[in-house]
């Protein structure tokens, strides 16, 4: 506070400290300095942790920190009347620097210390600290941006309330009109979005179910191939699938031409719009629904189905009355996931949309296009967020309060009922075209980067696209990278490599807090962490732009904002994986550790973490891969200095340079596979060690 620079200037480390600034004219910083000195003085006295004075002081300091940050904007005061007290406020202040952030962090540390002394988290200092810091981070990077975005929808740029404008934007006919049902033109954007989401979710759930049935309940031969193919879309960068679909089904696409020749009709642009987007989304989401449904299907206790068969029910009746009802939670979860993904999907509608507008693209153009209109973007983002929340609510309603528990302590030695023949045939009939389609798309993705122009079907082989993207040479100044893709590639790798471990740490820590600690407000805490998962990426992107391009937290255009964005978007996945793993581990080992006198941190490090390594691996891989392929939030946050691979690919696709985009995507997929194998290699070795540990240390946990 006294030494480190308060403001972010040319660099974070240059610049004056708060003390210096305080006397140098920005007098509003002085009370903070005084409070800091008072706290330091107080902490010299014994027993200060329990005193009321310390609490008052810390709360006052925090209020001051937040207050001063928001009171004075970049170019002047945000609240009138401040200038009267602090003349220098008229000149404004920039974002916080290291000093400001460390002061904030120190205050949070003090607060958690004081709370623990008062019995919060049963006096566990580490847990108390973790809760306080995670809550602060969630407030800063999840709730604050959303609130700011919400207010941008209601408040006009010059500061007044703009309820009339808000209502005008909200009720605009271009959002809600239903013309497509009456055959008089296109529907509104919201209607389009809902239609697309529902269809995409229905079809992907159906396809996922067919896949899961074949893999879990039949002796279908190509099971392994199916599993392998279903992983592909997860590591595929956005846009490429859209481009491959254009190459196949566009007006001059291979298959469209073929169809036109056979039926002797003029080839059309039929794929642009709903059909194309739907195709691309189903291809991308079916694997996700497959994994969800496979889990549900495998967890159904076979004794129930066996009982039904023994009682004389035909396979179809067993399926309808036993299996299907038990699948309901899985179906709901799969449908919801696909629906949310479809709402948030941005790449496919952009490439294949034609004139079919959805909310995510509309939001993008309201922020990035020449018609920059944050108010409109905020309104649209609010609508998108409400749609997501309604979907969540409907899912809860449908599942109701019925019990779906079939895995109990009792023996479940039954045999799973085979799928009725009709359903098996139907599933195969669904799967075969899907597999053929997937293979076709990925052939183009692999091959398209190495031919002259895949869009015009000029198939002479070439390496020129790879050279354009990744050329380099050794000159007198050492290695120089001239390829146009290097910058974005390096940034992407850095961001993913930094974000993945951080995401894992915060996710697992949160899981541990929720599963193993008791503290006031735990339910709200859990809900808060899940909220960041429910918010569509586009909304996150816009809200970050609205919240962080002005002081006090001025981080747009930096790499930090990209890392932070990924951390809070992917943390719920690490958290879920961690909670699932923790629920399988008996508490007694941790209790033993604590009885022996180990604190929360030591128990977490020595007992819990070694036992949940698979969950750590899942969280690492997921957050790494998502950071490499995500586009919806990132597209708003990239800058000339920190461009991401997906944003670069999007530019190439928009400009029609399909071959370059495809070549880059192929390289990106290769890099991802290598990285995942590397992570697996590291964690895999440890896993062997863990087995030994378990055998040796199992009976007598912890020393």
């Amino acid at each position: 506070m006294i030494v480190l620079p308060w403001y972010r200037q040319d660099g974070l480390f240059s610049g004056a400290s708060a003390l210096f600034q305080g006397f140098g004219g920005n007098a509003w910083l002085l009370p903070g300095v005084v409070l800091a000195l008072a706290s330091a003085g107080l902490s010299l006295q014994p027993g200060w942790r329990k005193g009321t004075a310390a609490m008052v002081l810390v709360v006052a300091s925090m209020a001051l920190l937040v207050g001063q940050g928001f009171a004075v904007g970049l170019n002047g005061p945000n609240w009138p009347g401040i200038v009267a007290h602090f003349p220098a406020a008229a000149e404004g202040q920039t974002g916080l620097g290291w000093g400001g952030f460390i002061a904030g962090l120190a205050l949070l540390g003090l607060l958690s210390e004081l709370l623990a002394a008062r019995g919060f988290c049963r006096g566990e200092r580490f847990a108390s600290g973790a809760v306080v810091i995670i809550v602060a981070l969630l407030v800063l990077f999840v709730f604050f941006p959303i609130l700011k975005l919400g207010s941008a929808a209601f408040i006009s740029p010059d500061g007044g309330f703009a309820l009339v404008e808000f209502w005008g934007r909200l009720s605009a006919p271009e959002l809600w009109r239903l013309n497509c049902f009456q055959g008089t033109g296109r529907c509104g954007v919201v209607i389009n979005t809902v239609i697309l989401g529902t269809l995409a979710a229905l079809l992907s759930t159906l396809l996922g179910l067919a896949l899961a049935m074949l893999v879990a309940r039949t002796n279908f031969r190509l099971k392994r191939t199916l599993r392998a193919i279903s992983i592909l879309p997860i590591i595929t960068p956005p846009f490429v699938v859209g481009v491959a679909i254009i190459v196949l089904f566009g007006r001059t696409g291979v298959l469209t031409q073929l169809g036109a020749d056979i039926f002797d009709v003029r080839p059309t642009r039929w794929v642009y719009g709903l059909p194309g987007i739907l195709m691309a989304q189903v291809l991308a989401f079916a694997p996700v629904t497959f994994l969800v449904l496979l889990g549900t299907l495998e967890a159904i206790n076979p004794t129930l189905e066996e009982a039904s068969t023994t009682l004389g029910a035909r396979p179809m009746k067993t399926f309808r009355t036993v299996t299907w009802p038990l699948l309901r939670p899985g179906l709901a979860a799969a449908f919801l996931l696909a629906f949310i993904e479809s709402l948030a999907d941005f790449g496919n509608p952009l490439v294949l949309g034609g004139g079919y507008e959805v909310l995510s693209t509309k939001i993008f153009f309201a922020v990035v296009g020449a018609r920059y209109d944050l108010g409109n973007a905020a309104t649209l983002a609010m609508i998108l967020l409400s749609l997501t929340l309604v979907a969540f609510w409907l899912q809860m309603r449908w599942l109701g309060n019925k019990s779906y528990v079939t895995v109990t302590g009792k023996s479940d030695a039954g045999l799973a009922a085979p799928v009725p023949q009709v359903i098996k045939v139907a599933a195969i009939a669904l799967i075969v075209p899907w597999v053929a389609f997937t293979i076709g798309v990925y052939l183009i993705v692999v091959g398209g980067g190495f031919v002259t122009d895949v869009g015009r079907l000029d198939l002479s082989p070439t390496f020129s696209h790879i050279v354009t993207a990744f050329s380099f040479e050794f000159g007198e100044n050492g290695l120089r990278l001239y390829g146009s893709a290097w910058d974005s590639m390096i940034t992407t790798l850095w961001v993913s490599a930094i974000a993945a471990p951080l995401t894992t740490v915060i996710g697992i820590l949160t899981a541990w807090l929720v599963a193993r600690q008791d503290f006031a407000g735990k339910k709200a805490f859990e809900f808060g962490t899940m909220l960041s998962f429910a918010i569509p990426g586009t909304v996150v992107g816009v809200s970050y732009v609205a919240a962080f391009n002005v002081p006090p937290v001025d981080i747009t255009g930096t790499m930090a904002i990209l890392v932070i964005c990924f951390m809070f978007r992917n943390m719920p996945v690490g958290m879920r994986a961690g909670m699932a793993a923790l629920s399988q581990i008996d508490r007694s080992m941790e209790e033993a550790s604590q009885t022996m006198g180990a604190g929360g941190l030591a128990t977490l490090r020595n007992v819990v973490l070694p036992l949940i390594r698979p969950a750590i691996f899942t969280a690492l891989v997921y957050s790494f891969v998502t950071a490499m392929t995500a586009v919806s939030a990132v597209i708003f946050l990239v800058s000339a200095r920190h461009n991401m691979a997906t944003a670069y690919i999007m530019g190439r696709v928009e400009n029609g340079e399909y071959a370059l985009a495809i070549a880059y995507s192929a390289v990106l997929m290769l890099v991802m596979i290598v990285c995942v194998v590397l992570i697996q290699f590291v964690v895999g070795q440890r896993r062997l060690g863990r087995r030994k540990e378990l055998q040796g240390a199992g009976p007598a946990p912890a020393e």
């Binding site: 660099g11 974070l12 970049l74 271009e174 566009g250 930096t558 930090a560």
Partner: protein, 327 residues
């Protein structure tokens, strides 16, 4: 919290943040050549000129770019008028063609012409075999229903040039009536100005309205594209360059500015399949480039149509009367 340190060294090291509004390929060739010649590292972003204008406007408080190179002149003039770009008189001005110097004079030396090119359209000769279109009026033919593409004038300078050209050629109300009729044949308003001709080259659309040099570029690369200079006459662009006011590396920005006006730098365009007419009188015009002398050019009023009020007014009218029409 370690991430906050990343913004660190933003000082005047050997860097230049370039906002580039021509074809990506040309942006790349230019950045690479500049890096080789000066050792200054170029951080380049390619965006349409309308989008770049919007970005510079949005970053007004804290400019993050140094030079805005390329793109149609109108948004450059608007930025100049609003003080978003800095005044600079390059020693190279004396070598430039009149139209390039007059662009600089119109803006009070806040921008300068770097190339010129006429507006026209290109059609795919595999798809359009009978009665090839030769005039603007031919594009209204019902045979081309859902088969013409042009960019959205809000994001693309190319499309704004079309709008301004029609207003100057026909009168404002007639121009909007024409565009409303043309709307029936438009399959999609793209973001990027040159995307329509790329779509025509692959056969995704039959006709793309673009600058003629963009159509020529596709033909040179082997696409079945025929370039048309419309018979009624047409407008043209003076592609421009501006230094962003308050950018992080002003010295390097001037180094780029002077370098980009030299014949050597301007002749790089042809190697990147860009066939504009360069602004330096000593630069060789590529053979394939459509010669301005061969085109019936209107007397394009850059000062008026590059002004903030006129541009905003025309775009608002386009949004209200054309952009909102059902497709």
């Amino acid at each position: 919290m370690s991430g906050f340190g990343v913004t660190g060294a933003q000082a005047q090291s050997g860097e230049l943040v370039l906002y580039c509004s021509v074809a990506e390929e040309w942006c790349r060739v230019m950045s690479e050549a500049f890096e080789r010649e000066t050792g200054i590292e170029v951080l380049m972003t390619r965006k349409s000129s309308g989008e770049t204008y919007a970005q510079i406007k949005a970053e007004e408080g804290q400019p993050r770019g140094d030079v805005w190179w390329g793109g149609t002149g109108d948004p450059h003039l608007q930025a100049a008028q609003e003080g978003l770009t800095a005044e600079y008189q390059s020693p190279m001005l004396a070598e430039l063609n009149d139209w390039a110097v007059s662009q600089a004079e119109t803006s009070g030396y806040r921008t300068v012409g770097i190339y010129a090119g006429g507006l026209g359209f290109g059609y795919n000769s595999d798809l359009v075999t009978e009665n090839p279109p030769a005039c603007w009026a031919d594009l209204l033919n019902e045979a081309y229903e859902n088969d013409v593409q042009v960019a959205n004038p809000n994001s693309s300078g190319t499309a704004y040039t079309l709008l301004a050209t029609m207003v100057q050629l026909m009168g404002e109300d007639e121009a909007f009536a024409y565009l409303a009729k043309l709307h029936n044949n438009i399959s999609q308003y793209t973001q990027s100005g040159s995307a329509p001709i790329r779509a025509a080259a692959t056969g995704e659309t039959a006709i793309g309205i673009v600058f003629m040099h963009d159509a020529v570029a596709q033909a040179v690369q082997g696409a079945p594209i025929v370039t048309v200079a419309p018979c009624e006459g047409t407008g043209y662009e003076v592609g421009s360059m501006s230094i962003i006011e308050g950018g992080p590396n002003p010295d390097n920005a001037r180094v780029w500015y002077d370098w980009a006006l030299t014949p050597a730098a301007q002749e790089l365009g042809a190697s990147a399949n860009s066939f504009q007419v360069p602004s330096n009188a000593n630069s060789a015009t590529p053979d394939a480039a459509p010669k301005l002398a061969d085109i019936k050019l209107i007397d394009y009023d850059f000062a008026l149509y590059g002004s903030s009020e006129e541009r905003s007014r025309l775009l608002a009218r386009w949004d209200a009367e054309i952009g909102s029409l059902p497709q």
